[in-house]
């Protein structure tokens, strides 16, 4: 069943196009991530879903209902804001109760809801405090509590974790995921943190400049990025982009890579598809973990290690291919030291190719 459908939504502020035809459909219970760099229009889209802002054109459907002309309070949604937006003069209890009071929920039911929600979020000992007396993480919980009390069909989260420190952010991320498993309510979640996007989302919409660059599952986005932007935005460290030319050798179509140890031809899987592009420039995209240490006797690229960055479970190797700095993620025991030479190979089943002009993925 459809939970949220955004159909060709555009938004203009005066002469500036902020959203240029957004299309998104998700099913009930899904966790949708809107991710993109600052200023790409994520919050604007969120406000349009919430009804706090009207789209210039297009349609928003929540459940089976077109809500373009429905007031925010009647859309059966709840929102958690980046700044938490807690009412500073009310204590936690009053903050959570405010919406219920406005809607005329009987007092007894209000009390029950407050107890249930505050237990769930472990804020029951804070009910009589004002927001100013809470830590960032506690405020965050109260903001979520206020949304939960609504018991909506759709949750909207606008960068809810971006004001927390790194450790708390990871904890709250897990909690939000658990909450979603428990409640199974549809969630739209805005972030510009690609790790949050990958770990939380069932569906991810990658946005840039008011356009959805790709909409799909985390695996699709990670393994088959639609274009250079998506490929570079998702993943940390970023995907390596290597300029190269398509060439033919011994009947195989492939690319030649030059490292400090010499030049090697690497045949592409299914390379004949690119036969019409022979001799043309392409951009090879390879993620750090797709560069592996070659076994004894396997064909490999001799690469000089410029720098290493141990992260604990893995070590990042900085080297150079086709004149570009390239990062490989290898097992710490296999890692060479700066100045050493390492034998590396690409996982050709996973590498992607991009057209340098259109920036779209080719394979």
């Amino acid at each position: 069943m459809g939970a949220l459908a955004i159909k060709n939504v555009t938004k203009r502020f005066g002469d500036t196009h902020i959203l240029k035809g957004i299309d998104i459909h998700i099913d009930a219970g899904q966790f949708l991530i809107l991710v993109g760099p600052s200023g790409c229009g994520k919050s604007t889209l969120m406000n349009i879903i919430a009804g706090l802002e009207a789209p210039t054109s297009g349609e928003v459907q929540i459940g089976e209902r077109v809500v373009n002309d429905v007031a925010p309070k009647d859309r059966d949604i709840a929102m958690v804001f980046q700044s938490y937006a807690l009412y500073p003069t009310m204590n936690v209890r009053q903050n959570i109760a405010f919406g219920m009071e406005t809607r005329g929920v009987p007092r007894k039911e209000q009390e029950e809801t407050i107890t249930r929600v505050s237990k769930m979020l472990q804020i029951d000992h804070l009910l009589d405090r004002k927001p100013g007396q809470l830590s960032g993480g506690q405020r965050q919980r109260v903001a979520m509590g206020r949304a939960l009390a609504r018991n909506p069909t759709l949750f909207l989260f606008d960068e809810p974790l971006s004001n927390l420190d790194a450790k708390l952010r990871v904890e709250m991320r897990t909690e939000i995921k658990q909450l979603h498993h428990r409640l199974k309510t549809t969630i739209v979640y805005v972030t510009h943190d690609q790790i949050e996007a990958m770990t939380l989302g069932d569906r991810i919409a990658v946005m840039k400049d008011g356009v959805i660059q790709q909409f799909g599952s985390p695996e699709e986005i990670y393994e088959r990025p639609a274009n250079l932007f998506v490929a570079g935005f998702i993943g940390s460290p970023s995907m390596n982009f290597i300029d190269c030319h398509l060439a033919e050798q011994g009947g195989d179509v492939g690319i030649s890579l030059q490292s400090e140890g010499g030049v090697r031809f690497v045949p592409l899987l299914d390379g004949r598809r690119f036969a019409d592009r022979l001799g043309q420039k392409v951009i090879l995209g390879v993620r750090p973990e797709q560069i592996e240490v070659a076994e004894e006797g396997e064909p490999a690229l001799e690469c000089k290690v410029h720098l290493t960055e141990p992260t604990g479970p893995d070590t990042m190797i900085f080297t150079q291919i086709n004149g570009k700095e390239v990062i490989a993620r290898v097992h710490p025991r296999a890692a060479g030291r700066p100045g050493d030479s390492m034998r590396l190979k690409l996982d050709v089943r996973k590498v992607v190719l991009f057209d340098p002009q259109t920036e779209a993925r080719l394979n």
Binding site: A50, K73, M79, F81, S83, A85, M90, F98, R103
Partner: protein, 285 residues
């Protein structure tokens, strides 16, 4: 080094003391003179302490001093001022708060222009509007009445009260209003339940500001009122200018203090909010 520091301190306190005395001396002279008898004033020295304290001048200023042909003291004028200042302050502050709320949180096409025009009102010299305002009051049937004075002060006060509130409310995050809208609250509920409770500091500033402005106003009072609707400032002027055979300095001084007392009291009671409120916006960013 240490000595230099000390010297600097002494100089600093010296200057501060001088400034304090400079400003307090007139007040001292007023207070002491008001409790002296005329004989003592004539005989004695301006800054000497009174030899015996008498409140005759005060009762006379309040109840029996002549202000023109009438000799009923300032009491009538004082109550006129009270009747004028309380509604005028409350109305202009309420309207300013509402205007500021709309102009910062419910912007509409042309709201910036509206604000610019309202702001213009802050800089209009009073003299310019005297004649048109007199005409308008005539049309409304409010000429020469306390109600007319209230109307004038409200109209004039709106510009500055709007400015104060609007600038304060700009500092309240828009997300708070959005959250309240999602919670189902409308224009008024958001105003009364969310925005107004956050406004204590600026409400204090505006109340003090408006009270002082309106209580101390002389020009509007002398132009737009007459006889039994005149405010205390006009009464004081009449009292001081009514020629009697001898100039009763003690009565004049007592009258001046009576006229100034309410603003002093208000500032003493609420002054700490005033300073806090003026800086509150800055701290919040």
């Amino acid at each position: 080094m240490h000595d230099q520091n000390k010297l600097w301190r002494i100089a600093l306190y010296g200057v501060l003391l001088y400034a304090a005395v400079y400003y307090l001396l007139p007040l001292y002279v007023m207070v002491t003179t008001s409790v002296k008898s005329m004989d003592e004033i004539r005989a004695g020295n301006l800054i000497a302490l009174p030899m015996s304290i008498t409140f005759d001048a005060w009762t006379k200023a309040w109840a029996t001093a002549c202000t023109g042909v009438d000799c009923n003291g300032l009491s009538g004028y004082f109550w006129n001022s009270v009747k004028m200042v309380i509604p005028a302050v409350l109305i202009s502050t309420s309207l300013g708060a509402l205007n500021g709320y709309v102009l910062s949180k419910w912007r509409f096409k042309g709201s910036e222009l509206t604000f610019a025009l309202i702001l213009f009102g802050v800089f209009i010299p009073f003299q310019v509007v005297l004649l048109p305002m007199a005409q308008t009051l005539g049309w409304f049937g409010l000429a020469r009445s306390v109600a007319g004075l209230i109307f004038v002060h409200v109209v004039f006060g709106i510009a500055s009260t709007t400015l104060f509130f609007r600038n304060y409310y700009v500092g309240i995050p828009d997300e708070l209003i959005k959250a309240a809208r999602l919670d189902g609250a409308g224009f008024w509920r958001i105003f009364f339940k969310v925005v107004l409770p956050m406004s204590t500091p600026i409400v204090m500033v505006v109340l003090i500001w408006q009270f002082t402005q309106i209580w101390n106003d002389f020009l509007f009072g002398v132009v737009f009122s007459s006889g039994d609707s005149q405010p205390i400032t006009v009464g004081l002027n009449n009292l001081a200018n009514t020629s009697t055979s001898v100039k009763e300095y003690n009565v004049d001084m007592a009258a001046a203090i009576i006229a100034a007392l309410p603003t002093i009291v208000v500032y003493v009671l609420a002054g700490k909010y005033f300073v806090r409120g003026l800086t509150a916006g800055a701290v919040k960013g």
